[in-house]
Symmetry: C2
Subunit: 223 residues, 2 copies
């Protein structure tokens, strides 16, 4: 006997939140890696990735089952389709946290030379984005989802500044080129985590209002 649609959607919702919790943990461990010069934390990211990959497959399978057996309509259908997309975004966010872990392993091979204060601030901003977009999803809060979209501009500015400063540092200190490159890649990966948070924010807005705001007002915006 199939459970009813509401119960299944609620179950799916919870599953996605568990997965989102893993994403937060992965981001925390990956960035603690370079903040604390701690490779143990990086190993934790790789373990979290395995769990998220399992959830990724399982959430997709549940969505398909709901679509096949319960034919959700209107807001329920938008929710299932949004969950399919958010699931992909969450999985990619953990991949990016793994990338940050790998960049950090290279970074730690050299003694710290490059200033990473901006990178710390950028990380805090991205973590707030991830936290807020999950809150927006849980509370179906369209206003909060819009706030996440605005926050993305700040993250992009951090990335540009870090790239510029690090490139200048590398020019003056060619021995720091490899370390600098890894700082640049960490910033790039953080920016992409922020981009996925904006994707989720757009999905939350779509799920609630039926309004597709993607590609609106930001022509040529690269994600």
């Amino acid at each position: 006997m199939h459970r009813n649609l509401d119960t299944n959607l609620s179950h799916l919702h919870e599953h996605l939140l568990t997965m989102a919790g893993y994403v937060e943990q992965a981001l925390e461990c990956a960035t603690a890696g370079w903040r604390l010069r701690n490779t143990t934390k990086i190993r934790e990211v790789y373990a979290i990735e395995t769990k998220v990959n399992e959830s990724h497959i399982s959430v997709d399978a549940s969505c398909l089952q709901i679509l096949a057996l319960q034919h959700p309509l209107a807001a329920d259908l938008r929710l299932v389709v949004s969950i399919l997309k958010i699931n992909t975004d969450l999985e990619r966010m953990v991949d990016l946290a793994v990338n940050i872990g790998q960049n950090t392993e290279y970074y730690l091979k050299n003694e710290s030379e490059i200033e990473v204060e901006d990178l710390s601030e950028m990380t805090d901003e991205v973590r707030v984005m991830v936290r807020e977009v999950l809150d927006a999803f849980v509370k179906s809060d369209e206003g909060l989802a819009n706030k996440v979209l605005e926050r993305d501009d700040k993250v992009d500015s951090f990335k540009r500044k870090i790239w510029q400063d690090t490139t200048e540092y590398m020019k003056k200190n060619p021995s720091a080129i490899e370390q600098g490159l890894n700082v640049i890649l960490i910033a790039k990966n953080l920016e992409r985590i922020g981009d996925h948070a904006t994707n989720i924010a757009e999905d939350v807005i779509f799920s609630m209002s039926g309004e597709d705001i993607r590609h609106a007002g930001k022509p040529g915006k690269v994600k």
Copy 2:
């Protein structure tokens, strides 16, 4: 009156192929930019992106309409869900072509110093992946989709080699740091286009067989 499911799926299929054609064009223009030192070609990528963004929204809307009105089942349902995902991948691939265009604009600000032969070979490999995965989708050819997955390892090797060689070059020639950084980012963006081609290959396999092969056999594989 609603058209029947087969007609709608066939229409959606065609729409996705038009979009895939744009992706191929975008990749060609973006890479022609640095191959031919031609900024006109780069401008074409930005125009293509606008069209792809429109298709992205329209394909998603058609998928939702089919799910809402025609309740596809089994292979048809898997096809619609796969198209939703492939649509996202194609849109991201064009974003990455735009990134390559932007990297190339920076790259062309300096006189060419860095050897880009490997980058040319890597580009050819990625273009073959994109072409093959679209053929696999059109012909529902699982064997070809599997071939695309294998090809991804070669693309990853190219990226590693380009990163290593370019970093060495930058160490010896600090004046080429900015140009080198853009070569590294072009390689990164090409690798990510390849990753999206593997996503599509996995979706083609899933759509045909119902078998979800993601995360299988490649623990910790970063996309």
